[in-house]
Symmetry: C2
Subunit: 365 residues, 2 copies
């Protein structure tokens, strides 16, 4: 080092309530709770961009404090619950919502009750909710049934509902759209996003429109929502009674924010389409192997959809696309292991054994 370096003293923001305070329902009585959610990276993907002939960026929401985009909406919902004097929050969840609810409840000293569909929750998410001290109740039913029960109970008890039907959730989640615009200096041409309960696509669209209305961006993106083929009520135009997909985070047959999603698609000249589990897993693997980005299967629905549309000739060359990756791959480690088929077999702890293994692999490559 020949000359004195100039350190970059800019620090990560403390959280979205402070960073985007003036865009949110934050009053002087709202506690500025934070686990430093938001400010997640928008990662350019040179390898996949070249392969697909478009300009791809990934909004990697897996780097939120509990590993998913849910933290943005939850910090807002929990802050308002505290402001309003609530002592208990409750939600139904395929996993990510429960992790976020449990973490912010722990931070704020609230009781947290989560209902999960039995047998269809990723390992990491269950571990989180339990670690954060939530009361986890598994029911013999699917997500839609769990949500129905939670709605009934919170309607009659002094318990705050923190599912995305809580309007503060959408408010917090819209900040991700702000961040994409802040990073690019404008809106992308296309926003590609997985759609399960449909709160997130609703929130992004609200965020883009607000930034446009305040003159912070000139144009709006086309909103492209992608559902799993086995859980695609918006594509089919009807409720799916028994949704099935490996992408558990979007395994929802009756989206609570259906109207918001359809409005986003319609107003933005966008679309909603479905991708198969195989297409999702292919995209999931491509992201990890070619870009070093590990997301949960549901997240990869956004890339899977873009690959599908590009193959169908429905995307312009060089279109600038922001794909939302909703959660961290570590949420669902068993999927990655399952794709390989088995854990690595063990060999003797000698240089010779290892060298022969390496040479064999190189020969295969």
């Amino acid at each position: 080092m020949d000359q004195a370096p100039s350190p970059n003293m800019i620090k990560r923001h403390t959280g979205i309530l402070e960073r985007y305070r003036s865009f949110l329902p934050v009053t002087e009585n709202t506690p500025l709770i934070s686990l430093h959610e938001g400010s997640t990276p928008l990662i350019h993907a040179p390898n996949l961009s070249e392969r697909l002939g478009v300009e791809l960026h990934f909004k990697y929401e897996g780097l939120n404090p509990t590993g998913s985009f849910k933290d943005r909406g939850m910090v807002m919902a929990v802050a308002k619950a505290v402001e309003e004097g609530s002592r208990t929050i409750m939600c139904a969840s395929t996993g990510n919502t429960s992790a976020a609810a449990a973490a912010y409840a722990a931070r704020a000293g609230l009781r947290c009750i989560v209902l999960i569909p039995n047998g269809n929750i990723a390992l990491g998410k269950l571990a989180q909710a339990i670690a954060y001290g939530a009361e986890v109740i598994a029911i013999d039913g699917n997500f839609d049934e769990a949500l129905q029960i939670v709605r009934e109970i919170t309607a009659s008890q002094p318990i705050t509902l923190v599912n995305s039907v809580n309007p503060y959730r959408i408010e917090g989640q819209k900040t991700a759209a702000f961040e994409i615009c802040d990073a690019l200096g404008k809106a992308p041409d296309i926003l590609a996003i997985p759609v399960g309960n449909a709160g997130n696509i609703t929130a992004y669209w609200k965020g883009f429109k607000e930034y446009r209305d305040f003159g912070l961006i000139d144009s709006l993106p086309n909103m492209y929502g992608f559902q799993a083929a086995g859980a695609a009520p918006l594509v089919l135009g009807e409720t799916v009674s028994n949704p099935e997909t490996i992408a558990t985070a979007i395994r929802i047959g009756n989206p609570a924010s259906k109207e918001g999603a359809l409005q986003a698609v319609s107003e933005s000249n966008g679309l909603v389409d479905s991708v198969t589990d195989n297409e999702i897993l292919e995209a999931y693997q491509m992201l990890a192997k070619h870009e070093g980005i590990f997301c949960e299967p549901a997240s990869a629905a956004s890339l899977a959809g873009i690959i599908k549309l590009r193959r169908q000739g429905k995307l312009s060359d060089g279109a600038q696309i922001a794909c939302v990756l909703t959660g961290n791959g570590l949420k669902d480690p068993n999927i990655a292991l399952k794709l390989v088929g088995e854990e690595p077999r063990s060999i003797p702890a000698t240089r010779e054994a290892v060298m022969s293994f390496i040479a064999e692999k190189a020969g295969m490559a």
Copy 2:
């Protein structure tokens, strides 16, 4: 919103090579590889601070791209490997290093070979290395044996060693110390850090000293390193042949950076101490339940050590302490589930069944 909001346009940095370029061995030929590592939050812990009577902050390195602090050193090591024309990297790893090596190798288009000790690697870490496309070799031996084999092979083959004996690793890792100073505006009184292979405590100390030498901070922290009681060679003053601890990330009996660690402790008027697995798990649970921060067990050694010292009356009231949390709790989901004993039992999907469950829990509380 009555008045036009002023958006905060500051965005997350693209990565440490760019953010701290002038402090690092970055030349004009060094590719500025990035997955947006670094810029992790320093989270204030009001609940634990009050409970312990000190001022606690947690450097939550679990929000790096692959979920651990290893990304900082690995991006530097991989960038230099590319600069030097290498096509293959190799490491021994208890898991976090392999995930980081595999991710950055994927990003840079390099072959990646990782040796892991058989049967003692956290589920999430194994899933990551496999997903990122590394060639994972499990050996019938412990970490120290794996590292020995990797050192021998890379000494004779055109393969770049990326364990922390690679000096670029330490260079990248020191940036975490810079960030703590940037966030606090000064160095903390005490830096508490888990110690396994001892590269990280070495790197932090180097970082603090460089910031001091450039006049960016006035004082240096006391460096407090904590090892697991069953893997505490620095505390015992001798190599541990068969290290054992639930904190697999620091299950190392013969630290490669032993000298650096001892120097940091000695120069900083610090200490190195050990904490039991029970103390680690207690701290791990406290962090999640009281602050909403979910780290891997090894990370909690820093807090466990602080609790131990405070109970012994060895910490001043109000001391400002930065505890390093090296990795994300999602790396090792089975630990959280094991602490509860069993997965939640399933109940009927009715409002009545759920209400009765909730009432029962409230009665117990």
